[in-house]
């Protein structure tokens, strides 16, 4: 278990590559070129001693040549033969289903089941056994449940593209509908209620292990296009993160993923899955074929050398699923990701558990800039015939880039959880304190300890340190603000721990009607009236739209407040207030619960 860096390398033979249909060049037809690309990928993997998972596409199941290739590589190299639900379009599919749709989660449930049966049946016809792995860009909970019911051999699935939501949509000039933000960045066991949500235990275990489509940069993809910064050499070229034929960023990315083992019991993981369209002979955008081929070859060599050095374990997807169930199961995952691209020294702490996914930004004093309330276990049916035809993101309560974050202009507020510190009428926000942190595991919890920061509040200087605790199995985050020193010995600063939130999956506002804000024993029904209610005790918001109750509490005697927003600022704020002097600490808890 110790220092196990696992690679899932996945190749899919597509006969009509999604990206290449209009652009593939060369003298031979598209089908031949596509098979050649698949063979090239397989050869480069095998030459470097790596085994792959061959995810057969529907179209490839109609090619005896490709079926024989897969069988041969399975026998010779131990490659797993799985079945992808990507790559559906082909003459046979188009004639049968009379549609250009190709994303499995967007079909009606009835069609999804029909297609799954068709594709799995064809696979069995070709190979004489059922696949143990499958996947798509996104695999919804209903599809997973159906696959598990009908094809229980399936143990593993590619189930989401991390943070490939509105950002990827915008990057493609608002034309690429993989709206699927909000999932874990590393493998997990999905809950039966929602693919993004890690299962709590056997009671909501969907019986598969989900893996993300690529391993992505946890800073660059949070702000930038998710498709530029991942373990996909041609995506790195797409992002123009190279000069000449050099792209050290790709290897830094792989190495930082390897470093995750330090914080997750020795386990770290990479997934690489490059569709053949990314290696077509005409090149991709500015990158000529020679560079596309070189970058893939270099990536294979890098992984291959790690394996030779005993630093990498390559597995098929189903083999990995068995390993994951034995070694990880329902564990949380955490990492402090460092900027390896922009030279900023910025770091983001990411945490994923069955209760929540969140991100804290050290460049903003540890402010929470993303929060997904997995505790709600939100059931969201998707596809044609539902109200979520394309959009399958797990909703946020906080998303600082989509919904403003620390606020920088004069009218409104943005979503973020932070604190303010005030003294003598001067107030400052922790969001403006750039700092760094160390992450450690102790006593069944992750502890994120930030370097102290300094506040200059008129005549007073105060040094304050923040520490965050994430206990395994808990639906709470504990925040500790320590007043280490004040320049005036008896002075007390006023610390206001606050969370400004809303809900949604995109940049656009959602109706806030129906939200209840509760401070102590006082309740406000959200009416955009800009009201504030103060009390003593716990402050809570119940957000029925995402079936979530979110609360903050400290000791029973602390002042708390709830603040309603208004039409130009459709947010709400929960707050806790404490006066603290040198040597004193302010402990508080953020709690997530399901609200029906």
């Amino acid at each position: 278990m110790k220092d196990t860096f696992i690679l899932n390398l996945v190749h899919r033979p597509e006969l009509n590559p999604e990206y290449a249909e209009k652009t593939a060049g060369g003298g031979k037809g598209l089908e031949d070129e596509s098979i050649d690309i698949f063979k090239l990928q397989q050869r480069l993997a095998h030459e470097n001693g790596l085994k792959t998972t061959i995810q057969m596409t529907y179209s490839s199941l109609f090619s005896q040549y490709v079926v024989d290739l897969a069988k041969s590589d399975h026998q010779k190299y131990g490659d797993e033969i799985g079945l992808s639900l990507l790559g559906l379009p082909c003459r046979q599919f188009n004639e049968k289903y009379r549609t250009k749709d190709f994303c499995i989660w967007m079909f009606s449930l009835e069609d999804r089941k029909r297609i799954i049966d068709d594709v799995f049946g064809k696979f069995f016809e070709c190979f004489g056994f059922w696949p143990e792995s499958t996947g798509s860009y996104y695999l919804d909970a209903q599809s997973i449940a159906y696959i598990e019911e009908r094809y229980p051999s399936v143990k593993c699935a590619v189930a989401t593209c991390w943070e490939e939501g509105p950002k990827a949509y915008h990057t493609c000039n608002n034309s690429w509908y993989t709206l699927m933000d909000g999932g874990p960045w590393n493998p997990w066991i999905p809950s039966t209620c929602n693919t993004h949500v890690p299962a709590k235990g056997p009671e909501d275990d969907s019986h598969i292990v989900a893996i993300p489509h690529l391993s992505r940069d946890l800073i660059a993809c949070f702000d930038g296009n998710g498709s530029n910064f991942g373990t996909h050499p041609q995506n790195v070229l797409r992002g123009m993160v190279y000069e000449g034929d050099q792209y050290p960023y790709l290897f830094n990315l792989i190495d930082q993923y390897r470093h995750m083992g330090k914080y997750n019991g020795g386990y770290s993981y990479n997934m690489m899955f490059v569709g053949p369209g990314w290696l077509n002979k005409k090149g991709r955008w500015e990158a000529p074929y020679s560079l596309l081929e070189k970058s893939y070859s270099d990536a294979m060599a890098y992984y291959g050398n790690l394996k030779k050095e005993g630093k990498l374990c390559d597995m098929g997807m189903s083999e990995f699923a068995s390993w994951f169930r034995e070694n990880r199961l329902y564990s949380s995952e955490a990492f402090l990701w460092k900027d390896i691209l922009y030279g900023s020294e910025k770091s983001h702490f990411w945490y994923s558990s069955p209760s929540m996914r969140c991100c804290l930004d050290m460049n903003q004093g540890g402010a929470m800039i993303d929060l997904r309330p997995y505790e709600s276990k939100l059931v969201r049916e998707c596809g044609i015939g539902t109200s979520h035809v394309q959009e399958v993101s797990y909703p946020f309560l906080i998303q600082a880039n989509y919904r403003a974050g620390y606020f920088t202009h004069y009218a409104g507020e943005g979503t973020v959880k932070s604190c303010t510190v005030s003294y003598g009428g001067v107030k400052a926000d922790m969001c403006l304190c750039r700092t760094k942190a160390v992450l450690r595991s102790e006593d069944g919890q992750r502890v994120l300890e930030l370097d102290p920061v300094q506040f200059k509040l008129g005549e007073l200087v105060a040094d304050i340190q923040s520490v965050f605790y994430f206990r395994e199995g808990s639906n709470e985050v504990k925040t500790v603000r320590k007043v280490l020193r004040t320049s005036i010995p008896d002075a007390k600063v006023c610390i206001t721990e606050y969370m400004t939130a809303c809900y949604g999956t995109t940049e656009y506002p959602e109706p806030m009607d129906g939200i209840k804000l509760i401070a102590g024993d006082k309740t406000l029904d959200y009416q955009y009236k800009c009201r504030t209610v103060r009390a003593v005790g716990c402050c809570t918001a119940v957000v029925p739209q995402v079936e979530c109750k979110v609360s903050m509490h400290a000791s029973e005697g602390d002042e708390c407040f709830v603040k309603e927003g208004y039409a130009f600022s459709p947010m709400f704020t929960l707050g806790l207030v404490r006066n603290a002097g040198q040597g004193e600490v302010f402990e508080s808890w953020l709690k997530l619960e399901k609200a029906n």
Binding site: H170, N173, K282, W285, E286, D339, L341
Partner: protein, 77 residues
């Protein structure tokens, strides 16, 4: 002029790329320039390449190689 087509390489608009939009440009044979159908960028191949280089301004660590240890990442010498 006749309708525009793609150039010898499929260049994206450098101006849109800098705002995280990948959009293919078209080539105007008469003016010998690429142009964007969304924004107002237009320029020769040389200009596109120059602007692409400029788009990399934010990647200050792009060519660095890091090692990762207990204290974080360190630049490899």
């Amino acid at each position: 002029m006749a309708q525009a087509g793609k150039g010898k390489l499929n260049y994206r608009c450098p101006s849109c790329f800098m705002r995280d939009i990948d959009i293919d440009m078209f080539y105007d044979e008469d003016k010998k320039e690429y142009y964007c159908i969304r924004c107002c960028y237009h320029g020769s191949e040389e200009d596109v390449l120059q602007k692409n280089q400029m788009a990399r301004f934010r990647y200050k660590s792009m060519l660095k190689r890091f090692d990762f240890d207990d204290d974080g990442q360190k630049e490899r010498k």
